[in-house]
Symmetry: C2
Subunit: 590 residues, 2 copies
């Protein structure tokens, strides 16, 4: 049985010492004083520890079941979902006009981490609803907003994203679901959608499906795609629920993990739908959901790793096995605890320094979203650049981190009863959905680096430069700034390689795309650790009663810089080997 | 549904082009001509494809069940096990005196790979039996050998290893199982053993448990441990089966994978046992099993990756998604196959170059075992050094490789129906059992490097040097020898760091142990690829009808050298950062 405690202190450090939120010039941030954010996070932590975490294993074991067309969620999910709704946790950053609390996206992300760590599969019911809410909020007509949003903010109705079909996932231009216009302005939607997370369940009275489909006249490929609102139960003019729509659950998939979330095949058989946003501009509206979902998945990457780490650290402190090579540390016990062994610490430090770095990047990214929401174009461009990194790097590393946590348990980690296997199996999906990580790398190298003439990546480099420059002459910071400078240069060299070779042969850039995503991920976390170390030094200099906390931050950061940033040189070497080794073989030689 | 085809051609290349087995001065190797090995491997491949592979998913889905104290294996396992026995596949390298075929260990390894790729969980029933056979063969009295070995060679009786107890795995000094001597020379064994693979099942009429226990007078810790033969069913003087022994199955563990193999809690309640080998020298006898098991697990690491790779490559060729960035490759289709995309190829090349390199290392290792079996002390020392690398590196990378294969399937890879999840879940255990990989790293750095005054690691370096020297001036080989030289130097630098720092602070060496294991793993595979490339060039120079095969080998090797060996620099940097970053935190700071 695993346990989970919200890392409130670490989050407070980021919000107040590093991001200095209440002093930031972002609307709404002035209200985020230490007392307020602590109260919110502690309350969320209580729900997570007491309500959600105990259901994590239950959800994994029972999974969801399809009985006579009705999906049943695992024991306890219904009561927990009601508790989440009643606590107002579904509405944190939603628009007050529709019943939301209007908090910054940053706060919603911090709380989201806590809930995901406690129970990733459960939290998806709400997470997907938020994505659908955002798409309707951004692209819906006033009538559509009034009709759907209040119920979605409260999660009385939940939402889904319907993109994938059996023959196409990434390549949406191939999709076959059709939308046939009706005289009343609605459409009849027909086709099969697969891998629909939270596609059906018994937690809400209605589900608002957002469905990509092709309406007549839109042309070939993704150009012909539109986005439709297709409620599971039709909504009457007065807002009451009417007849069942023609959408049914074909089956629930048996998956490697996230068993608590129903992943459905949905069959649309002339289901009534309404256009959301402009006709034939569905991809744009869909990307409102998708970008948010990608950040949410990047958050899942490290949030699950955090939960796994907490349990691994506790196990390493408790489990007696072997003696320290430097001499007995626990003379009254039959053996020393695992944590005395250097390789166990190496594994714990890998996890801890990754998770805390990724949290910093995610929180910073969330603050950029808040800026972008208020019209800051530079922040919008920067978060666009960072999104594939947050999604791809953090989920790859989050999975590795969960695997390392499981490894600390030895054989016990392989037994389902212990719960460590679930973290690994759950974390695995985050590398795949909302655009597999290879697609993230393609998005980064093939698109985002060059967006607006490369302006955003140049701004990123300037930011790194400014950060290292700010600590010039501060010897305490050299263990951070030197590796960060070196890694940033390696990232620039990789970008240069792409520019010099990618024009004549795009394969030369794309063969290095995953390596570049990881290289940039390390630079990002190096930047975050430099900022965190500087903030910790500042707190220590100012005099603090909790010097151990800040010293631990600095030591953890030093580990990341010394032990993780050397990966950048490897990624650069791989990138600079170019396309030839990668593309050498004929397809039939594999 | 996954499929599997034995890579006979790749194996033949290793046996004959690289290892030149029939010309090797090892007893029994002269008989291994091309025709003979091809016939054996093709026949094994037929069994694997037709009998074992179709049961792989069945075993995963059904698992084993415990009904009224009796363990039932999945549907079809019984018939398949009979087919294996009848085909003589359980006896390949066993002693002809006890009904074995007396083939070299190398051949048994090659066939073992084929069976493990097809169905890892199934093959463990036989694999564990072979380990127990070896321990009895090496340490048993003539009577014990006569009594047990013929039945174990035929797998009429299977075997197990009983080491772990609930409170101790790695630290066997803590074990509590007791052996009480009886007047008739037997012992009564009492205690609980856990994680016993193939611990009980319905495939054989008897199971010979080898059990570590403490007999009186042996002193503290591992010194007091002895190894006992404890049959599930007592064997009468005439060889017939007698009464049930006092060993019962407490439960079957629910695991992340290898569901087809029953992992049991075994309760010994005064069970009758007989000492195997010398009293209080149980650890030595146990290591006969353990070393063999570690090589077998290292083989599992890449064998499962091979099966996963085969399916991923086929999927990448078939699945149409997106268009090549360099222009349409499949104009008559709605999209190009996945395999046109550079990042998909990158993932496939990572897998292919690892699997083929690991196979070469494993086969070479097996040939060292064959030499060692015939009294070659240098070979014995070298395989002792290589064992933790083969076990640790190949299972870490094999798991990564299976994860990459699963990733190529996108969302479909996460669905159990497709079978890719099973490869990942099955491969995961290989990093854990028979000594978790952290323990392998400890064994390598804390013990094997210094064995016999460092003689074996020096011999390894000499071997690498000789290999690169042999190709001096051959420009075609520079893409191999240059990276190999560089990587070997990095490994030497790491060894130097350990020597200079490990004496005053052992933590300084052990904090880098896992990195060293991986660094050495890459050097080993770099050496293997250099040998394979040289052999391929020789074949091409000699004139061959199958130049495409040899050219593919060279290209795959070039990929490994260009894209994998750069990891060595990262590992060295991590190692040279020493113990401080790793050990900086107090235990309570985690």
């Amino acid at each position: 049985m695993t346990t989970y405690t919200a890392p409130v202190k670490d989050m407070q450090f980021l919000l107040h010492d590093v991001l200095a939120v209440s002093a930031a010039d972002i609307p709404g941030y002035a209200d985020l004083d230490r007392g307020f954010t602590a109260a919110v996070l502690e309350e969320a932590g209580k729900v997570a520890t007491e309500v959600l975490a105990p259901l994590n294993a239950v959800g994994d074991r029972e999974g969801c079941t399809l009985e006579n067309g009705v999906v049943r969620t695992p024991t306890g999910f219904d009561a927990a979902f009601r508790a989440m709704k009643e606590g107002g946790w579904t509405a944190l950053d939603c628009d007050p006009e529709y019943g939301g609390q209007g908090l910054p996206y940053l706060m919603s992300s911090a709380v989201g981490e806590v809930f995901v760590s406690a129970n990733m599969a459960f939290n998806m019911y709400q997470g997907l609803t938020h994505g659908a809410y955002s798409a309707i909020h951004a692209h819906g007509s006033p009538e559509q907003k009034a009709k759907y949003l209040p119920k979605m903010v409260s999660c009385d109705w939940t939402g889904t994203m319907n993109l994938t079909e059996p023959h196409c996932g990434t390549d949406l231009g191939l999709l076959r679901t059709r939308a046939e216009p009706q005289d009343d302005g609605s459409y009849l939607i027909t086709g099969q959608k697969i891998f629909i997370s939270a596609g059906d369940h018994d937690l809400a009275e209605n589900i608002i499906h957002l469905v990509l489909a092709k309406a007549p006249g839109g042309g070939e490929g993704t150009k012909g795609i539109s986005l439709f609102i297709v409620p599971k139960v039709l909504v009457n003019e007065d807002g009451s629920l009417g007849a069942r729509n023609a959408v049914t659950v074909g089956k629930i998939e048996e998956k490697m993990g996230i068993h608590g979330n129903a992943t459905c095949v949905l069959d649309y058989d002339g289901a009534k739908g309404w256009l959301l946003g402009d006709l034939h501009k569905g991809m744009r509206a869909m990307f409102t959901m998708m970008n948010e979902a990608r950040l949410g998945v990047g958050l899942q990457g490290y949030a699950v790793a955090e939960a796994a780490y907490q349990n691994a650290a506790a196990y390493a402190r408790d489990r007696l096995q072997g003696r320290a090579v430097t001499g007995v540390k626990n003379p009254t016990g039959a053996a020393d605890p695992l944590i005395v062994h250097p390789d166990i610490r190496r594994a714990l430090m890998d996890q801890k320094s990754f998770v805390e770095g990724a949290r910093a990047l995610t929180f910073w990214g969330a603050s950029l979203i808040d800026r972008a929401h208020h019209g800051d174009a530079a922040a919008d461009g920067l978060i666009g650049l960072l999104t594939p990194v947050i999604k791809g790097f953090q989920t790859d590393k989050g999975f590795d981190s969960a695997v390392q946590a499981q490894q600390i348990y030895g054989g016990h980690g392989y037994i389902e009863e212990q719960g460590m296997s679930q973290f690994v199996r759950d974390a695995r999906i985050a590398m795949i959905y909302e655009g597999a990580n290879g697609v993230q790398a393609l998005d980064l190298v093939g698109r985002k680096l060059a967006t607006d003439g490369g302006k955003h990546v140049m701004a990123f480099f300037d930011m790194v430069k400014a950060e290292t420059k700010a600590h010039d002459g501060d010897d305490r910071m050299k263990a951070f700034t030197d590796p960060l400078k070196a890694a940033s240069k390696q990232m620039q060299a990789a970008g240069m390689f792409f520019m010099q070779n990618g024009m004549k042969n795009p394969d030369a850039a794309l063969a290095g795309s995953t390596d570049f995503l990881h290289l940039m991920g390390h630079v990002c976390l190096g930047l975050m650790w430099t900022r965190m170390a500087a903030a910790a030094h500042a707190a220590l200099d100012a005099g603090t009663e909790d010097s151990a906390f800040y010293e631990t931050k600095i030591a953890t950061g030093r580990y990341y810089m010394a032990r993780q940033l050397p990966a950048c040189g490897m990624h650069l070497a791989r990138i600079e080997s170019g396309a030839d080794p990668v593309m050498a073989l004929a397809a039939e030689a594999f």
